[in-house]
């Protein structure tokens, strides 16, 4: 019994080989990242901005979509189809659209803070349109039922960061 049957300390199961194929796999993975990035960038459209939603109204009509913009001052609390609703004007890049949001608005919802709304275009005027000072009043409004606040990434002190807020014509 001279041979030692006890397991040896772990050693390479076999000499390193085919480093080339590992390199190829790494290259392919890198290509996958690039490909996903480029194509996803073109193909994904998670939100429309208000101006795009207005521009593509004919294609978007009858479908639900998400739309991002800044609510302008002047919120009208009213009812739509028997449910509590808040009506306001929505803005991005200087383009306005009227919104009737059904259900509770977000806790941090207020004019001048961008929000993302989910809903669809409806022909006609929202209730309480007369109460809006800057209404788009173009015969259409966005009827939405899901609201999230799009928070920005700014944590500076007041003086510097207020200059950066996208006012979108929010002139009070």
């Amino acid at each position: 019994m001279t041979e030692d049957l006890t397991p040896q300390p772990s050693r390479p199961e076999r000499p390193p080989r085919r480093r080339g194929s590992v390199a190829v796999i790494v290259l392919v993975l890198a290509a996958l990242v690039a490909v996903l990035a480029v194509t996803l960038g073109d193909a994904t459209l998670v939100f429309y901005e208000v101006d795009e939603a207005v521009e593509q109204r004919t294609e978007l009509v009858s479908s639900r979509f998400r739309v991002v913009g800044t609510p302008l001052p002047g919120l009208v609390e009213t009812r739509l189809d028997g449910e509590a609703a808040v009506v306001f004007t929505f803005c991005a890049s200087g383009v306005f659209a009227d919104v009737a949001h059904v259900g509770d608005p977000a806790e941090l919802f207020q004019p001048g803070v961008p929000v993302v709304l989910q809903g669809s275009w409806q022909a006609g005027s929202p209730p309480g349109l007369a109460g809006l000072s800057t209404a788009a009043n173009d015969g259409w409004f966005l009827r939405t039922d899901h609201m999230v606040v799009k928070h920005d990434n700014d944590y500076r002190t007041d003086e510097e960061r207020t200059a950066d807020i996208d006012a979108c014509g929010v002139t009070g």
């Binding site: 459209l45 001048g112 999230v148 990434n153 944590y155 002190t157 007041d158």
Partner: protein
């Protein structure tokens, strides 16, 4: 406690104990910074004159953001060690990859949970399907849950190590997407862009976030160190048991004269 050869056998070493104590002190410091010394995120809107911001919910970000960065670190390390294993084929790389993936998954889970808890008051939703970073992070998490499931199978360790390495390398493809999503989908996604990248942060807030990075890096290092040693012990215990069993059988054989019976000479 400080005696490395104390009677209780542990995965601790003097270095890891020092690191652990420093980490605990760091956590206390971070708590004080995050809850006492920093101000809530409030500012006055320039045109409406209303208070806007995240208010005190911002204190969750001193936890969420550093853990997200540590998740990147952990999963990158897991993928790097997996590639290392495929090239070198030594257990060291495999145990490192496994440890980093497991600790990373704990962090990734916490990133998802704390993000959700932050999102409820600030975004008004626990989960948002319209956010690319949320979706890619969830996919990343699920892929590494699959990785850990694969590691729990009773396969030949080398087969398992090789396959797990491939799973980790495929999964890591998602990581740059998670990280860059807020830039590539800048106006298309709910998640805010990187604050640090544009330096829209200063003074104590920035300092607290930096302390958060450091403290959670220490937490990660401590967990990784111990988890690595557990993985290493698992290997050693397996080998040691086999060795002990052989020794035992051999002793039996010598005792009962089996060796001579089967014609073996020693």
């Amino acid at each position: 406690m400080t005696n490395p050869t104390s009677s209780v056998a542990t995965t601790g070493s003097p270095g890891s104990r020092a690191l652990g104590l420093a980490t605990l002190a760091g956590l206390v410091g971070l708590l004080v910074l995050a809850f006492v010394l920093t101000e809530p995120d409030v500012r006055i809107h320039p045109s409406t004159g209303q208070e806007i911001g995240q208010f005190d919910a911002v204190r969750l970000l001193y936890l969420h953001v550093p853990m997200a960065v540590i998740t990147y670190v952990a999963y990158s390390l897991a993928a790097f060690a997996s590639a290392g294993y495929l090239i070198k084929r030594t257990p060291w790389w495999d145990v490192t990859a496994h440890a980093a993936a497991e600790v990373g998954t704990v962090f990734c889970f916490l990133v998802l949970v704390t993000g959700s808890i932050w999102g409820r008051p600030v975004w008004n939703t626990w989960w948002e399907w319209g956010d690319v970073r949320l979706m890619t992070t969830l996919i990343l998490f699920l892929m590494f849950v699959g990785y850990l499931a694969l590691r729990r199978t009773a396969a030949d360790p080398r087969v398992q190590a090789r396959r797990a390495a491939v799973v980790a390398l495929v999964a890591i493809v998602d990581l740059p997407l998670v990280n860059r999503s807020v830039e590539w989908w800048e106006n298309r996604t709910l998640h805010q862009k990187s604050t640090l990248g544009e330096l829209k942060i200063e003074d104590l807030t920035l300092f607290t976030l930096m302390v958060g990075f450091l403290v959670f890096l220490m937490v990660f290092s401590w967990l990784l160190l111990h988890r690595f040693r557990v993985g290493w012990l698992t290997l050693a215990a397996g080998e040691h048991q086999v060795a002990a069993a052989i020794k035992e059988r051999r002793a039996e054989a010598d005792g009962s004269g089996v060796a001579s019976a089967v014609g073996e000479t020693s």
